[in-house]
Amino acid sequence: MIAEDLKDFKKFTPKTLPQEEPLVFGHRACQGCGEVLALRMVAKAIGSPMTAVSATGCTEIISSPYPQTAWAVPWIHVAFENAAAVASGVEAGLKALMAKGRIPEKKITVVAFAGDGGTADIGLQALSGALERGHDFIYVCLDNEAYMNTGIQRSSSTPFGAMTTTSPAGKLTAGQTTWKKNLPAIMAAHNIPYVATASPAYYLDLMNKAKKAALIKGPAYLHVYSPCPTGWRHSTDLAIEVSRLVVETNIFPLFEVLEGKYIVRKNTKPKPVEDYLKQQRRFSHLTPELIQTIQKRVDVEYEKLLKLEAGSQPTQTKEDAKKE
């Protein structure tokens, strides 16, 4: 039960941020990379002892150029689509070894890190399986909205209208022609204890969500917005500003789903989506009509989210909780 897991949860404040650096400097990320910034925050918030599993992608490549590594915690990378499957094996292995007394029994947080490609597309099956089986682990999707590591190709998490190398702004089609896949909704549909969205501009919110995820037993899913100056074609000093605007415009609302109950961070006076779109050259080809289409969609989706919050009930009632 989530309430039980979180009974000792104390929020991080700016004064109580953890000192530990599970991810150290010297990695090969691009200048201004929002993903590695978010990754560092998540890792610090989860803290040791942890065991990390990475899918192939930006994070994995920049952090493990043999013979160097940026990981000060145990870390394994196997392939692109199986972060959740490898993490399942890590979790099952640790549980079995502790049950058999071969290693001392203690809490070791298992965390899987993958990009949007390794989560929404090629990794979706393995993730769905791991969530259904109920493994006690955290899955962190670092969403930079395309296959950035291989050169900015579209994923199903690429937002509508965004230019990528496989959804170019051409004569017949203008950028991504489909809407971003709603990953948090898909994960919530698996009825796992905890789903949350986070943005590195709201670092306390992000770190506290990661901390909660680590305390909660069972699968937890964190969807972390990760700006990519290289792929989104914005100035390298703007990752935080972009991360703030995406929330302020309601394009990427911050919310949690705790045992099925939605809790949404309200934003009643959103900024126009144009403020966000105009900062990134991946959207520079958009016509005013397309921007309007995007604005309408963002408004509709945000209303849907508020309705979900109003209508969602926890999977257990207060009476059920009392019986326990």
């Binding site: 870390w75 196997v78 392939a79 499957a85 399942s88 292995g93």
Partner: protein, 392 residues
């Protein structure tokens, strides 16, 4: 005390996995492996085997989860066949190159298309180059023994490679064979608790599966190749230990009535026992024939192979997989290339037979031996011959 009784080979293999005290089983069902994972799930559900049973959602995840478990120092096991093994393909190469020990039973079944659930060796032959130690059982007892040995080989600090134990689908997996199941105490004296060389441990963090630039890749691959070649020494040591404790002998290349034989059948897997009957029949007729079967396929035991075929004038190689568009079958290719720079070598008649579960009878083996002898006399140039094709 060991007891010998009739057991379905799949069940016997599951019992061997139980005796090996595995920690994690990741399982995805595919015919004809299903009885193994079903029985294992029963053993876990009843508390007879204290392992985590992870019912994954695909074979790719089955092997991936086993890798994750092995990485934290758990004794990990999985099993598959055919399409499942093909789906694992990507990960097969990764496991060996990141040097994590685990054991997989491959219940050999033909690769699609056409979709076919019956036995041949095309599934494992498509994984020939994945860097795993690969062993072949010819009967139920061997399936059990090789399974127990596999863990010991894999986990040896000089090896640290995954091991595939192959047994023929349906012909072995679903058949009741006389099996002597060892007792737990004896197995424990042979197979100690897994002591990992490297594991994911927060107290001693390591990075596994790093990115390898051209500056380092070659050296890593050389190291893995050396480990695989060097594993042969360990395999033989493990077999020696096994013989001491259990009394059964295992060799990389097994010989059957090869003394004075001029024509030798070369087989792998359960067809061997049928082929042995053919050898017996021809021997009774006074023909100088014999048989060798390959138990250790990877690393290939070149030395033992040359020793085993000494004196033979012709080899009748029985391949149960094809190398399409190439020189025949994988075993024939291996043997011909091994013999290439030998000044004296037997004639090699290569036969591709028994694909997709097509039955191989005693008569067919006799036919192959007869042909090998006849072709050798005229040194007939042949790449390979497909046996038993119905032209109409």
């Amino acid at each position: 005390m060991a007891s010998r009784k009739g057991m379905e080979v799949s069940i016997a293999v599951s019992e061997a996995v139980k005796l090996a005290n595995v920690d994690v089983i990741s399982a995805y069902p595919i015919t004809p492996q299903t009885h193994i994972v079903e029985h294992l799930s029963e053993l876990v559900a009843d508390g007879d085997l204290k392992a985590a049973f992870v019912p994954v959602e695909s074979e790719h995840s089955a092997l991936s989860a086993a890798v994750g478990a092995a990485a934290v120092g758990a004794r990990a096991y999985t099993a598959t066949s055919s399409q499942g093994l093909a789906l694992m393909h990507e990960i097969m190469f990764i496991v060996s190159s990141i040097r994590l020990p685990l054991v997989m039973t491959v219940v050999n079944r033909a690769l699609s298309a056409p979709i076919n659930i019956w036995n041949d060796l095309s599934d494992i032959m498509a994984e020939r180059d994945c860097g795993w130690v690969q062993l072949f059982a010819i009967n139920g007892q061997e399936a059990v023994d090789l399974t127990l040995q596999a863990f010991k080989i894999a986990e040896d600090p000089r090896v640290l490679l995954p091991v595939a134990v192959n047994l023929d689908g349906f012909i072995l997996s679903h058949v009741i064979e006389p099996v002597e199941m060892p007792d737990q105490e004896t197995v424990d004296s042979f197979l100690p608790v897994f002591k990992p060389m490297v594991r994911l441990d927060p107290d001693h963090p390591v990075t596994i599966g790093a990115f390898g630039s051209p500056d380092v890749f070659l050296e890593v691959k050389k190291q893995v190749e050396e480990a695989l070649i060097g594993s042969q020494k360990v395999v033989k040591e493990v077999w020696k230990d096994f013989e001491t404790i259990f009394g059964r002998t295992y060799k990389p290349i097994e010989s059957y009535k090869t003394k004075g034989a001029e024509i030798l059948l070369v087989t792998m897997g359960s067809i061997t026992e049928t082929a042995m009957t053919a050898v017996d029949i021809l021997r009774e007729k006074g023909q100088k024939v014999g048989l060798i079967h390959i138990r250790l396929w990877r690393p290939f035991p070149f030395k033992e192979f040359f020793q085993a075929i000494r004196g033979a004038k012709a080899l009748a190689v029985v391949d149960r997989a094809l190398v399409p568009g190439g020189a025949g079958g994988p075993v024939g290719l291996e043997i011909k290339s091994a013999l290439f720079d030998k000044k004296e070598r037997p004639y090699v008649a290569e036969f591709v037979a028994g694909l997709g579960g097509r039955d191989l009878t005693v008569e067919v083996f006799a036919e192959m031996m007869e042909k090998a002898g006849r072709y050798a006399q005229t040194q007939k140039e042949m790449r390979y011959e497909m046996i038993g094709v119905r032209e109409k």
